[in-house]
């Protein structure tokens, strides 16, 4: 039942947004880049600022951050090897990596964790004792994803078409990098911005991201040549949905055996966050740099649809592999 709620509250709404974008583009033939600019320069920086500022960062979870980075590294390695095996162009390899290294933790991951740990079997006498540690761990992974998706992801998307130097030039002309520096500085200085006159605009802007990004994805889908039989896209989706949980399972087993280890709850959270589908941002970056846009779109759509089944499986497996008490 809880899982049906995730589908109803998180997956289906995304598909509704995509449909709205698709239908609008079909009728009016719109310009996706117009929404892209709004996303990159207004909405995404606002979301990053708002989510990092609002998050209660627990520094004891820094090892969770590191696990996220290591997982990302192995996913990237797998993407690079597959690209070499299939003789991809550098651009296609980067598009593959972007769609597999990163995931939709912001929209789906956090909501999934919140829902799983506030429902049976994690309820004790009507209380949710595991929710706070679960959200703490999930927040750390969300911040890690935000940082790398909007810097490394952007760089990789650009590298596919530009020289590394030019790609770096583009990144440093995007506000995201400066927003990350600013928000961590503000948090470090403990400045309370919630009563500032501009704070509501950050909130509204952050709230707008999902709808704008998914509508843009829908518009792009109308423009794209979508091949449901694209083997490489299916492999990317599979690597994203199965490779992520498999890699973190190995990492967690090693850490629990030879290191101080994580609690079962944190282990389950890390596995759940690893099974989330590809981020729609990877499509927007592909559009921005005109780097295998159709391919990126296919992977996002395929992984999002397939995740309905794979996420259920991963949640179930995580409970068996890392049982609580």
């Amino acid at each position: 039942m809880a899982f049906l709620q995730i589908i109803s509250n998180n997956i289906l709404p995304l598909l509704v947004f995509v449909t709205i974008g698709y239908m609008l583009d079909k009728k009016f033939n719109l310009d996706v880049k117009a929404l892209n600019k709004l996303t990159f320069f207004v909405v995404l920086p606002s979301l990053i600022f708002y989510s990092v500022y609002s998050a209660k960062i627990d520094m004891t979870m820094i090892t969770v951050f590191i696990v996220g980075c290591v997982e990302m590294f192995f996913l990237a390695l797998g993407g690079t090897l597959y690209g070499k095996l299939r003789h991809f162009t550098p651009g296609k390899t980067e598009a593959f990596k972007n769609a597999t290294m990163f995931s939709n933790t912001g929209n789906i991951g956090i909501a999934l964790v919140a829902l799983v740990f506030s429902n049976p079997p994690y309820l004790l006498n009507g209380e949710t004792p595991y929710l706070i540690p679960a959200i703490s761990a999930a927040t750390m992974l969300l911040i890690q994803m935000n940082i790398f998706l909007n810097t490394l992801g952007l760089y990789q998307a650009g590298k596919g078409k530009l020289t590394p130097r030019d790609a770096l030039y583009v990144i440093f002309h995007m506000p995201v990098v400066y927003v990350l520096v600013s928000v961590f500085t503000i948090k470090f200085l403990d400045i309370d911005m919630t009563h500032w006159f501009i704070w509501p605009m950050f909130q509204y802007s952050a709230q707008a991201l999902v709808a704008i990004v998914m509508m843009a994805l829908g518009m792009q889908m109308h423009h794209s040549r979508f091949h449901a039989a694209d083997v490489d896209a299916w492999v990317a989706a599979a690597w994203r949905l199965f490779g992520g949980p498999l890699i973190v399972f190995c990492l967690l087993t090693l850490w629990n055996t030879w290191g101080p280890g994580f609690s079962p709850i944190v282990c389950q959270v890390i596995m759940i966050m690893a099974c989330v589908p590809s981020p729609a941002n990877s499509v927007l970056y592909a559009i921005e740099f005109q780097n295998y846009v159709d391919f990126a779109t296919e992977i996002v759509v395929m992984s999002t649809v397939a995740s309905v089944i794979t996420m259920t499986l991963t949640i179930y497996l995580s409970q068996i592999l890392f049982p609580v008490g």
């Binding site: 509704v16 117009a34 707008a208």
Partner: protein, 316 residues
């Protein structure tokens, strides 16, 4: 102090968003048509649906009727002024500056920001729940000004009553408004359906998209040259609208203080983008001349109207 609060919490954030839109268009020359279509065909209808579904004002038909009356009366006064005054330069139309209003676009954002901060919101509950009734009334006014604009445009282009009636029924938001009222009246719940999370996101999209789009339009149509005739005209409009709206609200005597405040403030909101859009579509007035004075009145005059509304229609 109250006026300064409204300026800081409502006008200033909006001005910043306009500026961001302005700069984005300056650097990237954006396709404003895309924003316009997404706003009018998806964002606005869903925003209006959500607002009315959450709360139906007790005077759901009288509020739009009163606002339409205020706008039409103002348009009539504009027409009379046009007959009385000599033709100044290239301004040939006094009706659209008087009759149109940016309530059809960012006016609702202004109202949301006004009512979610001091001196209106004083801490009982959360701002988001407090402003629900105000947003609902504002949505009705948004719909009214959109319909008025649509009908006026059709009338100007075709001079056909049939086309004007067709224009009335061609506004997508009208249908979502009616749907919301029907669903709420029959207590058909949406809160547990997959559509509810979709609807909840459109609050933020509406605020951001309308403000950014305004900034983009400002860049595309801005002229640095300041002309006194359009400035005086918009100032006269501002003062007249306050008078007309006060008279309508006071002599009708049917609206609650909250509804009266929203109506009064909305009536003061000038037309910037509505006028730009109208001018572009009809080619009648050089709209660039109105932008500067309208913007000044919007950002500086409307906070005054907000404070005046509290004084004239106090919520006990």
């Amino acid at each position: 102090m109250a006026c300064l609060s409204v300026f800081i919490y409502a006008s200033l954030p909006m001005a910043i968003m306009f500026l961001i839109g302005y700069l984005l268009d300056k650097h990237f020359s954006l396709d404003v048509r895309t924003y316009d279509i997404v706003t009018r065909y998806a964002v606005m209808p869903l925003f209006i649906f959500l607002s009315l579904y959450r709360y139906i004002p007790s005077h759901v038909t009288l509020i739009p009727a009163a606002f339409a009356g205020i706008l039409c009366l103002s348009g009539l006064l504009g027409w009379l002024l046009q007959k009385i005054l000599p033709e100044e330069g290239t301004i040939r139309d006094f009706i659209s500056p008087f009759m149109l209003s940016d309530t059809e676009l960012t006016g609702v954002v202004f109202l949301i920001l006004v009512f979610s901060h001091v001196p209106y919101f004083t801490g009982m509950g959360t701002p988001k729940t407090f402003i629900i009734p105000f947003v609902s009334v504002s949505s009705l006014l948004l719909l009214t000004s959109m319909i008025i604009h649509s009908v006026l445009l059709a009338g100007r282009r075709t001079h056909s009553l049939t086309e004007m009636i067709r224009a009335f029924f061609s506004v997508p938001s009208l249908y979502t408004a009616v749907a919301a009222v029907i669903l709420r009246s029959f207590n058909i719940p949406l809160e547990h359906s997959f559509l509810w999370p979709v609807l909840l996101h459109y609050d933020g999209v509406f605020v951001i998209l309308t403000c950014i789009m305004t900034g983009i339009w400002l860049h595309k149509s801005y002229s640095p040259e300041f002309k006194w005739a359009p400035a005086l005209l918009m100032l006269v409009r501002f003062v007249l609208m306050l008078g007309i709206s006060y008279a309508v609200i006071h002599f009708s005597g049917i609206f609650s203080p909250a509804e009266s405040q929203v109506l009064f403030i909305a009536a003061s909101i000038p037309a910037i983008i509505a006028l730009t859009d109208h001018g572009t579509s009809t080619g009648i007035n050089p709209t660039a001349a109105f932008i500067q004075p309208s913007l000044i009145i919007y950002l500086l005059g409307c906070p005054l109207a907000a404070v005046l509304a509290r004084v004239l229609f106090p919520v006990i």
